[in-house]
């Protein structure tokens, strides 16, 4: 039996969670798979609380301490778990009313990245907020987890910004490379997306191959009954794509992600990060 894939929506207890859930519901309907809402509880056992500075140890000191610490942590976990459950249930109701599909919820202990990585094989698409819980009190314009997750996970990842708006047209930042070609193939093979006009945009320096690549993309989508326009706009990809999104009023961006090594990104900056920062629309990054 083939495992039923799902859209995995990663939520935390912030306002962004409801947008994540909305977009996950949208993606799930388009991909015809169910949604699972995942809340990862990061336990910080390296931080202590409940301090006794008497410096004295009595009979069975170690056993008593172990009991006290595990009891305290147990109680704290219960509170967090209960809060999480209530808030996940709210999101589930919201999701189910959008999709009409059964929605699963799950809370896991652990690190976000490794928890997501574990589930990779059963996920059709991840959905996460570009910023999260700590957004209001940090100045970062890209959540600290986003880059690590997009680099490590070999599945389409939709990162969403504020406010849900059902996408009406899609812009593909196409570079003719392996990843975006896969992206075009995936798009073309999904008939549920046919009602959305697709804009394929290539940028950068014009080379001999670029015309051919663009033509291939256009042809591939046309034969799958999509409404397509394809264009080559020379210039810096970040600016070109941002402008193209605005001009064409696209509200979903699909692009390849992190094709270069982390070292190169450290020196030259990452184009993917730049685009994620600049684009105001939800983005599906492909790092397959």
């Amino acid at each position: 039996m083939r495992q039923q894939k799902k859209v995995l929506a990663c939520v935390d207890q912030s306002d962004y969670a409801s947008h994540v859930a909305d977009y996950a519901a949208w993606a799930a309907t388009r991909l015809s798979v169910p949604v699972e809402l995942l809340h990862v509880i990061d336990r910080h056992s390296e931080i202590s609380s409940g301090i006794d500075r008497s410096g004295s140890i009595g009979v069975d000191a170690q056993e008593n301490l172990l009991e006290r610490l595990s009891q305290e942590e147990g109680e704290r976990s219960k509170v967090v778990r209960e809060q999480g459950r209530v808030f996940l249930n709210k999101l589930r109701a919201r999701c189910e009313s959008h999709t009409g599909l059964q929605t699963d919820t799950r809370q896991r202990y652990g690190q976000l990245l490794s928890t997501l990585k574990e589930q990779e094989s059963s996920v059709a698409m991840y959905v996460l907020g570009r910023r999260g819980e700590s957004a209001s009190h940090t100045r970062r314009d890209l959540g600290r987890h986003v880059e690590a997750i997009c680099r490590q996970i070999r599945r389409p990842i939709m990162t969403v910004t504020d406010d849900f708006k059902a996408p009406k047209s899609v812009l593909v930042a196409f570079d003719g490379g392996r990843m975006t070609r896969r992206g075009i193939e995936l798009l073309a093979s999904n008939p549920n997306m046919r009602d959305l006009p697709i804009h394929v945009v290539m940028s950068g320096k014009r080379s001999a191959d670029s015309g051919r690549h663009l033509e291939w993309a256009k042809h591939r989508l046309r034969t799958a009954d999509f409404t397509v326009d394809a264009s080559f706009i020379p210039g810096d990809p970040e600016q070109v794509v941002t402008r193209a999104i605005a001009e064409r009023e696209a509200d979903l961006l699909i692009m390849g992600a992190y094709s270069h090594s982390p070292w190169r990104s450290l020196l030259l900056g990452s184009r993917t990060n730049d685009l994620l920062r600049a684009s105001q629309v939800p983005t599906i990054t492909l790092h397959l």
Binding site: S45, I47, G50, D52, R53, S54, G55, S56, D60, Q62
Partner: protein
């Protein structure tokens, strides 16, 4: 980067305060252990400083406290007495080198052969040894010493009922010192026990002849120190793992202990290791990260160097009270209650570990005894997982024996006795496909059985020998035979 931040700075405030509590608790211990080893308090204090500071960086278990310890001090007594201090420093360096090698060859993994009962025995023996080491301070002394010690214990255990904001051992020491000075009591003080540090430690090479003879003298001591140091460190690491619900890197800890001991030898300190009692105090006081260990080491040295005159006035009775607390806190009292409920073999292992250690004052020998005994008991128990069923077949002309379970040196004898050689029969089938033959003893037992049957004129056919003897190969693959698991559960 993330790990550095997490291990060092995620719990800063509590780490610093816990480090302070530990530093205060370490001073009396370091002095007391120097006295056990028969060296100046300076040696133990320098050692505690350098080990704590270095292990903060090199250790594999954040939040664990390492310093000069009683377990190690007890092993150095004869070396110091017969050869002098410089040989102790050389032995300390060699201990460190051996520990680094042990870490590299992943000796830490051997810890899995040390059973729960042996660990309990180790801890109890350690507590008893620490307590016994205080007895010389309590024999042939005036009543004032007893009164002071009793008052000290009263403060240590009474004060936390009133407030847990200040370390009660510190108050004990301050109060008893003031009382002794005020009443001008004629009792022994720390100053009487030897030299205290008056400056920061300095680097020097131990003044021993670099010859084979020197090596031959210090090697046996270093080898024992290495074993005991790693044992206590790894046990303590497991305890801290449990308390904080986090994992540690045991092999990194071995290397870290080694580096700390090498450096300690070069600044005139004695070998040390992790301390169970102090690590519990650290975790209890809120210490979780590496910072707590670093702060403990640094503050210890600062306090001792700058308050040296005061430290020398501390009456020994106050130290004895603190050490009695440490020994009571280290002892596993639960293990006495559970003597009645635990299996006899576990109790025997635990008690033998304690008995051998207390008799020899050497934790390494105690642990070795415990490990050997637990291996012995285990072999005996597993040897019982063996059953043979038989049924006549072929209209009484043949008999089929089916062997289930573990055949090895401890069960081979019983295995060969279950066959009925007197039976008048043409043929015997021995089906061993559901048994495990673990060693050569098992194979030769089967050979003998076959020969015995042949002498009676009975043909023998052994079935499934290949499956049964797959376990013979030392590096056997994990193979699951039908029913193997069921059998383990049924017995």
């Amino acid at each position: 980067m993330d790990t550095i931040r997490q291990e060092w700075f995620s719990n800063t405030r509590n780490d610093i305060l816990a480090g302070l509590v530990v530093a205060l608790a370490l001073i009396p211990e370091a002095i007391a252990f120097s006295i056990i080893a028969g060296v100046d308090p300076k040696v133990g204090l320098y050692a505690s400083f350098s080990i704590a500071v270095i292990i903060a960086f090199t250790g594999g278990r954040p939040g664990m406290i390492s310093a000069a310890t009683g377990a190690m001090a007890l092993l150095m007594v004869t070396l110091v007495k017969e050869h002098g201090l410089q040989y102790l420093f050389a032995a300390t360096i060699l201990t460190g080198v051996l520990q680094i090698i042990a870490g590299w060859i992943r000796l830490g993994e051997l810890m899995r052969f040390v059973s729960r009962s042996v660990v309990t025995g180790f801890v109890n023996a350690l507590a008893i040894l620490i307590f016994m080491a205080q007895l010389p301070e309590l024999t042939n002394v005036t009543w004032e010493v007893y009164a002071m010690t009793a008052a000290g214990l009263g403060i240590i255990y009474g004060l936390p009922r009133l407030t847990t904001a200040i370390p009660s051992p510190l108050i004990t020491i301050v109060v008893l010192t003031l009382v002794a000075i005020a009443l001008d009591l004629d009792i022994r003080t720390v100053g009487d026990m030897g030299e205290l540090p008056d400056s920061l430690p300095q680097f020097f090479v131990p003044d021993v002849p670099m010859t084979w003879d020197t090596f031959a003298i210090i090697f046996p001591y270093s080898a024992t120190l290495m074993v005991v140091g790693l044992l206590e460190s790894l046990m303590t690491a497991t305890i801290v793992d449990d308390l904080t619900d986090t994992l540690s890197n045991k092999n990194r800890e071995c290397v870290g202990q080694g580096v700390a001991n090498v450096a300690t030898g070069f600044i005139g300190g004695m070998a040390g290791c992790a301390m169970i009692g102090q690590s519990v105090i650290n975790v209890k006081s809120g210490g979780r990260g590496r910072l707590s260990t670093l702060v403990a080491g640094l503050l210890l040295l600062i306090m001792v160097v700058f308050a040296g005159d005061w430290v020398s006035q501390i009456p020994m009775a106050a130290l004895v009270a603190v050490m009695i607390m440490v020994s009571i806190g280290t002892f596993n009292w639960e293990s006495i209650r559970s003597l009645r409920t635990h299996p006899k073999s576990s109790s025997v292992v635990m008690l033998s570990t304690v008995a051998v250690t207390v008799a020899t004052h050497d934790l390494a020998q105690g642990v070795l005894t415990g490990v050997l005994l637990s291996g012995f008991f285990f072999a005996q128990k597993v040897g019982r997982i063996l059953s043979v069923t038989s049924a006549a077949c072929d209209e009484g002309r043949a008999r089929r024996y089916t062997v289930y379970g573990q055949v090895f040196f401890a069960s081979a004898d019983r295995f060969s006795r279950v066959f009925d050689y007197q039976e008048v029969i043409d043929k015997v089938y021995i089906d061993v496909s559901r048994a495990h033959f673990w060693d050569i003893t098992a194979v030769s037992a089967l050979d003998k059985i076959v020969i015995k049957f042949r002498r009676e004129g009975t043909d023998v056919e052994v079935i499934g020998m290949n499956e049964a003897s797959a376990t013979l190969v030392d590096k056997f693959a994990i193979h699951d035979k039908d029913g193997a698991d069921d059998m383990l559960l049924n017995h």
